[in-house]
């Protein structure tokens, strides 16, 4: 793994740009721990101040410093994305690996459910959730709901790899070396899907952050936890664009776009690295 990262850093432009963007965003997030203001307090600074030496990114109409708000918001947003991604990884790994390896009716049942989750438009369902839960919709609960909805596409990917792994002869060797199904799945097959898991984690983070921003902007989640979506929500509530407080909207948007593009570029370059075909074309000499 260390080797892969090193190689990619040295030779892959997309990866380098992605890592730079994510490092910037993560630095922002870490800075939140040194914020001079409690995140939920309002009117701690003069409102509506444009970016200046005192307030680097300006202040909001609610009297908050955009820079420090942004740092706590991006931290929460990233944490949210990571939580959804990790939880949904668990489902997609379990479903994908076992469906691919066991085959038969287990596979048919799991994949029928899986395909259903791929097709169903999730956004109306999330909205329905909010509609009935209203104020009890906490960020953690939303993360749990989203991860139980957003695993299907990736588990199909994992399943296709698992199916080809099952037919490879070393799986037979493992069976006849006395390994249990659990050992085969975790020790023999899991290492092959790890790169996919890694890149889908990043893509899934993008997906969940995107939905979080969207839901928050509409006010369909806990708007008191500062997130990027929440910031934009408040800016919209105060009609920041019309009022000319452009910095209140622009900087959160820029930050979140940097996150999206950064995560995506890293995922893409890792995908390219693990795709045997593109790797072969770079190495060459596969056949003599």
């Amino acid at each position: 793994m260390k080797r892969i990262i090193f190689d990619l850093l040295k030779y892959n432009n997309e990866f380098r740009i992605g890592v730079c963007l994510i490092l910037i965003v993560m630095t922002m997030a870490v800075l939140s721990f040194f914020s001079p203001y409690p995140p939920n307090d309002v009117f701690v600074v003069p409102p509506d101040a444009p970016p200046s030496a005192d307030y680097w990114l300006g202040t909001t109409s609610r009297g908050q410093d955009v820079f420090w708000q942004l740092s706590i918001a991006i931290r929460n947003t990233l944490a949210f994305g990571l939580l959804v991604a990790l939880l949904s990884r668990v489902i997609s790994i379990v479903v994908g690996l076992s469906s691919g390896y066991l085959g038969g009716w287990v596979d048919r049942v799991l994949m029928a459910i899986n395909d259903t989750f791929i097709v169903i438009p999730l956004f109306p369902i999330l909205i329905l959730f909010y509609f009935v839960l209203r104020d009890s919709m906490s960020t953690i609960l939303l993360a749990v709901i989203m991860s139980s909805l957003g695993w299907a596409y990736d588990s199909r990917l994992i399943r296709s790899v698992a199916m080809s792994l099952k037919t490879r002869e070393f799986t037979g060797t493992s069976v006849f070396s006395g390994m249990t199904i659990f050992e085969i799945l975790t020790r023999e097959h899991l290492p092959y899907v790890l790169p996919i898991i890694f890149s889908t984690t990043l893509n899934n983070m993008n997906w969940s952050i995107g939905l979080e921003v969207t839901l928050a902007v509409l006010g369909f989640m806990d708007i008191n936890t500062p997130t990027i979506g929440g910031m934009i929500y408040w800016a919209n509530q105060h009609t920041a664009i019309v009022a000319g407080i452009w910095w209140w909207i622009t900087f959160p948007v820029l930050t979140v776009v940097a996150t999206f593009v950064g995560l995506y570029l890293i995922a893409v370059s890792i995908n390219e690295y693990i795709d045997p075909r593109s790797r072969l074309s770079r190495m060459g000499g596969g056949q003599t």
């Binding site: 002869e169 070393f170 037979g172 493992s174 006849f176 070396s177 006395g178 023999e188 290492p191 092959y192």
Partner: protein, 271 residues
């Protein structure tokens, strides 16, 4: 005279298609033969693609259910229902696969599989015993643990890997080895060494080998008995050299006549 492996009218059919155009494919039809416990032999199953030979092998290994007839190892159903039964079965029957480069996980060191087999089947209580068992097995194929330890599959040649695969199968001290096309992916210059090794294992260790192949020449060279399969059915069976010297069934004859021998006789017929 006790039977090691008994196949009695073994059949296998698959169902293909959906609810309405369901049709059955009979991959193996009524195959019967017995391998004796006291007379180790190399038993060749010969057939082309689609003859059902690989399906038959998978059934003998308990990797696929039998859909008709009975298939027993020392009187017990092959495979086994519980994990304990399966382990007991696998200790007696071990496979060797076609592609030595694929037989071991490329991400794992090879000795891992030898030691795992020794711990699970060989009765090895600790690491040292497992290593000793692995080393013994490797010496039976002309290698040793010190040559193999810590090496990844890509660091070895196809011939070496196939030897290690055989050694791994030997660790559990099996009674029967199922070798499915074990030399078809091995380079010609190394192939005969592997084939000869099968003969040695039969003679020195007294184990039986089911040798599945489409190559009639090596079957003639090493096998004691054989069956020839076509579309799931056994069309001819008997002592290997007798059958191949004078095949009776039209298909066996056709097969024998299609073998291209490495000698220039008449140029290939132009029909």
């Amino acid at each position: 005279m006790t039977a090691l492996l008994t196949l009695n009218n073994v059949s296998k059919s698959f169902t293909r298609g959906g609810l309405l155009s369901r049709h059955r494919i009979e991959a193996v039809k009524n195959v019967s033969f017995t391998i004796d416990n006291n007379r180790p032999e190399i038993f060749a199953i010969i057939g082309e693609s689609g003859s059902g030979k690989t399906t038959l092998a998978r059934m003998i290994l308990g990797m696929q259910e039998v859909s008709g007839g009975s298939l027993t190892l020392e009187g017990n159903r092959v495979g086994g229902r519980t994990r304990k039964e399966r382990l007991a079965f696998m200790a007696k029957v071990q496979p060797i696969f076609q592609n030595p480069f694929e037989a071991f996980n490329p991400l794992k060191k090879i000795d891992y599989y030898l030691l795992m087999t020794a711990m699970r089947f060989g009765g090895a209580a600790d690491g040292a015993e497992a290593e000793a068992a692995a080393d013994t097995a490797l010496r039976q194929v002309g290698l040793s643990l010190s040559e193999v330890r810590g090496r990844f599959p890509h660091e070895m040649s196809g011939g070496q890997l196939q030897r290690v695969a055989i050694a791994r199968a030997l660790v559990s001290k099996p009674r029967l080895i199922i070798a499915d096309e074990p030399v078809s992916m091995v380079d010609a210059s190394l192939r005969m060494a592997i084939v000869n090794l099968f003969g040695e294992l039969r003679d020195k260790l007294g184990l039986s080998i089911i040798y599945i192949t489409h190559d009639l020449a090596t079957a003639y060279y090493i096998a004691d008995r054989l069956i020839i399969m076509q579309k799931g059915e056994v069309v001819e069976a008997g002592a290997a050299r007798e059958v191949l010297s004078d095949p009776q069934h039209p298909y066996s004859r056709q097969l024998r006549d299609a073998v291209l021998s490495p000698q220039v006789t008449a140029p290939i017929s132009i029909k």
